[in-house]
Symmetry: C2
Subunit: 338 residues, 2 copies
């Protein structure tokens, strides 16, 4: 196995451990050309690899940050993770990825474990619970950034979509094409799910602003699996919606399932828009207009904030970064522009 340590290198090179340590930290000024070469050779010969764990213990820094996500399979998560990893890579940091599965208990356990593992910072896609846990971290000025959702009662840096803006964008888009009976399609309301709430509220505001009615019949809320059924029911009633706003990719699937099964024509009978870009938007017929989250920029920002917090030991106050949604307008509805 490889239990070759600094001491071994030192012995072989006929120097002391400290000198080897200097060498490893590239403080070459403190040694002769001669010894430097001997050390290099010794390292090469033994195939020595420094033990970062030992270094970490001494330096109290691990060059790793922890990321806890509530749903690893979600595409948005993957993309943000990718950006985070990339930012960390640039700085020589690694990322420990943990999946809470939206279970607050697991989330808490992970926070504890990651702290015990001495990560230098934490990026969390929070369940929305565990207020106490995070509050303590903030008090201790431990580098922490929330993504996608927030934790009520915790004043920490957060990287979020401008959800209200996205809803406004959806309604505006429909309105510009003369659609007036717009319904929102969403999973059931959960108080601590910030984006869900903000999107719904944003939708309401955008509708009212334009004098569009938004009664219960225009809020179609159900678990994703039940959505097609709910939509079907809704479409058998009078005053069918002529536009559907799906608040995320999952609900979009429910909508598409429904229009396919029910044979509803898109966009003639009903126009569709949703938040989250989807890979098949282009090849679907008709091409789907979507409201994309700038996932890459969001991940990048989240990582940057953690690093900034790491160096600035004085907390410069929690900041909320709202990212503007971007309209991916595709051909679907164009032709009937008002």
């Amino acid at each position: 196995m490889k239990k070759v340590t600094m001491a071994d290198v030192a012995k072989l090179a006929n120097v002391s451990k400290s000198t080897v340590s200097q060498y490893l930290n590239k403080r070459y000024e403190y040694m002769s050309e001669e010894t430097r070469k001997r050390i290099a050779e010794a390292i090469e010969e033994l195939g020595y690899q420094p033990n970062i764990i030992a270094r970490s213990l001494k330096q109290k820094t691990t060059a790793t940050i922890g990321v806890i996500v509530f749903n690893m399979l979600h595409m948005m998560t993957t993309q943000v993770l990718h950006a985070i990893e990339e930012e960390c890579q640039k700085r020589g940091f690694q990322v420990i990825v943990c999946n809470s599965g939206d279970d607050p208990d697991k989330e808490k356990t992970y926070v504890d474990t990651l702290l015990a593992k001495q990560v230098d910072g934490l990026i969390v896609f929070p369940t929305g619970k565990n207020e106490d846990v995070y509050r303590r971290l903030v008090e201790e000025r431990f580098p922490l950034v929330f993504v996608d959702r927030m934790v009520p009662g915790v004043e920490a840096d957060s990287v979020l979509l401008d959800n209200a803006g996205a809803a406004e964008m959806a309604v505006q888009y429909f309105a510009s094409y003369g659609r007036d009976r717009i319904a929102i399609v969403t999973p059931p309301h959960v108080s601590y799910n910030v984006p869900r709430m903000e999107r719904l509220e944003g939708f309401r505001a955008a509708m009212e602003k334009r004098g569009f009615e938004v009664g219960d019949q225009n809020v179609i809320a159900a678990e994703p699996a039940a959505l097609p059924g709910e939509l079907k029911k809704r479409f058998m009633e009078s005053e069918r919606p002529n536009a559907l706003f799906a608040i995320n990719d999952l609900t979009l699937m429910g909508v598409l399932r429904f229009v396919k099964d029910a044979g509803v024509r898109v966009p003639d009978e009903v126009a569709i828009i949703n938040i989250d870009d989807v890979p098949f938007a282009d090849i679907y017929t008709p091409a789907l207009t979507t409201i994309a989250q700038p996932t890459f920029a969001m991940g990048k920002k989240a990582a940057e904030r953690v690093f900034e917090q790491m160096k600035a030991k004085k907390a410069d106050g929690p900041r909320v970064f709202r990212f503007s949604p971007v309209l991916m307008e595709r051909t679907s509805i164009k032709r009937e522009k008002a």
Copy 2:
């Protein structure tokens, strides 16, 4: 901050560090009910959290495994990762995720870093290079598992799709519906890309077995972005294919882009099948039949193997685990069954 250490707890509880250590490791037999309670209180009061780094240094084990993937954004990767994370979670392990971006140099750097960080095992979606690096690990019996691809010249555990079987499945599927002019759609051939090669070879074998011709015109190879163009050219020639086998989800997108732009009717004019299940298979019109990889099982197996290798210090020989593809037959082609 929290620099509360075992010593602090010991002092507060009026015991020695060793006793606290015993307590933490749940060796309660070695102490009186009395001290046990005192320690518990002290820990509570100080909000003590053990430093796993220190523990790791001593125990030479970190309860973390490293995962290096060549493309974090790929859905298959995400799903396998998810399964790996879950298996690790069960065992109290964490996962460091690294994205090589299919760059062998980055991959090598990551291997080194992860080893320096003393991970207990490595799961790699390899670029296919770095033979020397991995060979050394195998020699040292370091727990290592490859996923999706292999590294030529390295005898390590590998978790792979039965690619030839998948190709056979595709051809068989088409054949059973009377399709005979089958073309394979693939990214350009790269010698060390094992799955790509195996799928192509498997396709050839499956075709020949049935007496179907497979000349150059039935192998449509191009970068994903160029695929629609290539397909268009191919379809302007004589003897147009009546079935297209896309070897992964990316090439499928190229195919769908093409059929949409060219107005080719699916499945009447051309039937489609592909490897990798895609989320929109159901809602696409017509619903897409796909050949899914059992990603969850594959990730689980990869993790299990690492753990098995970790305990069995005698290498029981490298094993290759081939996972059977599963046909997700959807409605698209059914009606014209031969």
